[in-house]
Amino acid sequence: MRVATDVGGTFTDLVYMTDEGQIGFEKSSTTPPNFEQGVLDVLEKSQIAYGDIETFIHGTTVIINALTERKGVKTGLITTKGFRDVLEIGRGNRPDLFNVRYQKPKPIIPRSLRREVSARLNYKGEVLQRLKKNELEAIIKDFREAQVEAVAVVFLHSYKNPDHEKEAADLIKQLWPEISVTASHEIVQEWREYERTNTTAMNSFIKPIAASYVDKLDKSLSQRGVKGQKYIMQSNGGTAPFSLAKDAPINMVESGPVAGVFGAAMLGSILSEENIIAFDVGGTTAKCSLIEQGNVKVSTDYYIEKTEKWAGYPLKVPVVDIVEIGNGGGSIAWLETSGSIRVGPHSAGAVPGPVAYGSGGTEPTITDANLVTGRLSPNNFEHPVDMVKVQDVIREKIAEPFGVTVEEAALGIIRVANSNMLNALKLISVRKGYDPRDFTMVAFGGGGPLHSSFLAGELGIRKVIIPAASAVFSAWGMLMTDLRQDTIQTYIQRFDTADPGRLNKEWSILEKQAMDRYKEDGLNEQKVVFARYADIRYIGQEHAVKVPVPGGIWETDTLNLINESFHDLHEKTYTFRLQDTGIEFVGLHLTAFGRVNRPPLKQLDSSNKKAAEAGCTRDVFFEERGWLETKVYKRSELNPDMRMDGPAIIEDRMSSVLVYPNQHLKVDLYGNLIIFIGGGLGA
């Protein structure tokens, strides 16, 4: 049996799959600060026999929480002489252009704990100055006195030659065996010293926290008799064994959210849909990601806490490309000084939450607007909803300033929120040269099913899939993942002088590294599958295009082929090509999958040919058309092959699916809901 648990803000979800392909799920409360307790609770509640668990997969927010709450350990940095302030200077940018009191991100390590040693390479990785060990010894002595708990080692050009970093890390471990050490090349093999330093510093900062969490969970599971393999979900959309999660916890920052994207890709492949737009609307944010021909896109251009007006902290680790905006069910609608209406990014959160929760919320949220327009039912909330109060708040804060009715104001909030979400969806599709009409949307999270049918219509998407497991979709995604390692090696090489032999050597080094790591974890060599990408650009350009490139041995012809794909991809993305301009490699990106055995998903019993019956009808306020009588179905009463026409609502306690007039819905053989946009039920 495979079991996945996903620790979210409010709930810890569990999804399991039996050897027969049967899926089941369970939910339990998240239990901060001892998050492992929630995991044990939900396991207990699910009544799974611990001994049956062959594979245990875990997604956690512990890492990102420790980072954003700055609850790491006292960390010291050792870096190249002349460069201890790199972490504080950063990139010097001030995104809040017209604010002359901007404060940039504070370095995670204060200046007194940032120390320098003589050790210097040039950009080719040649040694200009050997590592002076006596300097290092003096620093370690100081760090001991200062009660430092973790050390980060970052030297210039270590992506080209890691020897000095290895030497320093070995010496530190020798002098101070109990200290936690991270050397930058272990985490990042790309250039850009600020980004690499910050990533390494943050990994060090949380490493002891992550190790203690993973150990506690491991121990508790073992005590209960779980003997199977244990994995943690990483930000690259694949899993890694517990041991790796302890060394490089920084790879787990987006542990939960990416699993949903990966789940969307897997669901697509099960349903023979190769091109997917994953769309996830939660309580505070909406996230989307584009999957082309089954490939989840991964890059290292990731930041935490970055906003339009704040630089945030860069983490050069492989993360699934997700665009996230501050628009979720709890996002607040508010008026700027100018009188313009905005929705989000401020959120009412879980407490006090929307006005509808009755827990003291006084600002109108998207959820409140969905209630007033009849898209959500007050009967599906945990506590009784005071609809008069919800309407009063929307009247006072939005309707009156604009001189419109309450329902028009509520619809206005939804339209503005949809416009924000639409911009995010365009960012990953149209703006990158993709035609959304070639894609199917997979919508999940509490609000995804509610907003997706409208947004799909706007984008020209023809089909929306609401997964059967939409309420626990991240955990479902984890269940479906393979092991995955992404290595991105900075490699600067012009095409005109590129030697296929040397490139073959580079690739084989990367493949061997990945293979060795898998072998250490006892994975069979035949289960490992490689995918290669190259980051390529026009010479002189900064931004590279990630080009899928062939595996195996490269010849000169291979380079010609890659050359052509680059020009095509560049034109697709940026509308033009410079056929006569030279191009160069900037990075080699190897993805190593460790394939796991999964039974095929079981189809539901479709012998029940009963037509769908609406439980009731209620009025829903639609764009352009106003109030329409709308049939309401209970999701739990739907069976495979049932079909229905919009306007319709399919709801359960977790969420609500909105089907517009002229749209049609059918239930597939796995219990997924398929919405056909713009007429026609399809095959």
Binding site: G82, F83, R84, D85, V86, E88, I89, G90, R91, G92, N93, R94, P95, L97, F98, V100, R101, Y102, Q103, K104, P110, R111, S112, N122, Y123, K124, L128, L156, H157, W191, R192, E193, E336, T337, S338, G339, S340, I341, F402, V404, L411, G412, R415, V416, S419, N423, R431, I492, Y538, I539, G540, Q541, E542, H543, T573, Y574, T575, F576, L578, T581
Partner: protein
Amino acid sequence: MLEKQPDAFTLEIVKDSLVSISEEMFHTLGKTSMSPIIYEVLDYATGITDPQGYLLTQGNGVAGFIGMVSSMVQETVKKYGCSLLPGDIVIINDPYNGGGSHLSDVGLVAPIFFDGELVGFSASKAHWTEVGGKDSGSFTNDSTDIYQEGLQFPCIKLFNEGVINQALLEMIQANVRFPDLSVSDMWAQVASLRIGEKRFQEVCVKYGKQTVQETSKYILNQGEKVSKKVVQSLPNGEYFAEDFIDTDGIGHGPFKVRVKVTISDDRFVCDFRGSHPQVPGPVNCSYTTLVSDVRTVFLAITNEDHHINDGVFRPLEIITDPGSIFSCERPAPMSIYWESGSMGGDLVWKALASVLPEKLGAGHFLSVCSVTLSGKHPDTLEPFLIVEPSVGGWGASNNEDGTRGQFCIGDGETYNMPVEIAEARYGILVDEYSLHTDGAGAGEFIGGAGVVRSYQALTDGQSLSVSFGRHDHVPWGLSGGHNGSGNHFFIEKQNGETDGPYGVYARYPLNKGDKVKLITGTGGGYGSPHDRDIGLVIEDVKNGYITIRQAEDIYGVLLDDHLNLKGLARQS
């Protein structure tokens, strides 16, 4: 065809669509450019205007371009009127007429048509690495007229109905030092304009032309309304400031400049009359530049939401003498125009800082602090060219220390060049990139430190040009805070000699092993150093931001070698 009057929410949604067009144009340009000055420094802007050339939305990387998109579109409208056709693109960099800053910043303007009617313009302005002229990198420290500074594009057609003007293109290629770079930047701008045009037309299709036009009016009127509301809330009165621009780069100076800011109920008037006349060296700026820099400070005071369009600036009036250093006339040189332009903005800031402490802190290092270094790469033997601004120290404010190591007000979403990339790409070794903690800018809240960035030449025959303003006239302190320190650089030669300090210097020769230490200033402090929290003073010493000696002499905090408090010597 009559369209339904758009409701309030539709106006907002269309407005959002227009904002996202400028952003998409901005990203397209940045992603496709081949010049570090564009993709790292983000020295470019994109925008959408209405058919009259009033800015509706702008995508910005730097603050300094706010005001320059509309000036070049308006110049285009003035020159071509109704004769523009779909597919036309105009190229303009003439600083005296709509171009604004200096010749390196090249503007492209494309009319947008829908249903045969002119509905707006998409435009962009970007710093090309090369536009010819007497020095490599084009902008220079010691030009004496505009003709030495490069090619001038006086608002002429680069495209006629979608067809490129081949003769003009070849002229550009023949007159610039790195034609591949310049031409690729041109294509990046064209791609950006085409995207803007396409998206604008899509919005017209979706919402109707009339709704888009209504939205344009709505945007401008709303901008005006917000600004007026804030201006009304400011204390009425006349505020004054004076300062000096160090030098013109060719031996003259300093030059006295002044402002009188008059705030009334609905006007915000900045009067620079009486400032120094235009000067022989290239530190002059055009009136358009002055407008941009004053607008930046005006926005810092009035606009928290950052919806920026021409309506916002309706209450703002800027007066100066024609032919002054702030409004020079042909053929005055203006290659390093920011030295005067930024000073213009800084004067307004300084005049108002003590009455608006919650918005404005003490003075900062101010200058773009540009560095141009050319030479040969030791391995490829190909020529390289560094063109980069520098980070420096910002002033403290009424409740926070100043920021350390950050680009100046005229820059913005500007990124420094990573050392590892610089060393691979250029013929230099970076010896140091660290904070320059000189103890200046003392106060209850301390000014942020500048930085030291040292380059060691790896080949003979390199040439360095540096334009560091605020070398002699340093960042000002506020409310009893100490002044900051000046920007400067030294040369440490291979033979052990040192030379400097200098502020502005053209073409300093560097040979293999010579080092240049580029040092930017500390920002001004706020409040008396004796009011600084004692715990913070101890932390400052521990972190090496100040010395034990400075803690005692300046802050009145006496510490022993283990940083234990020995006593206080403070005036209460």
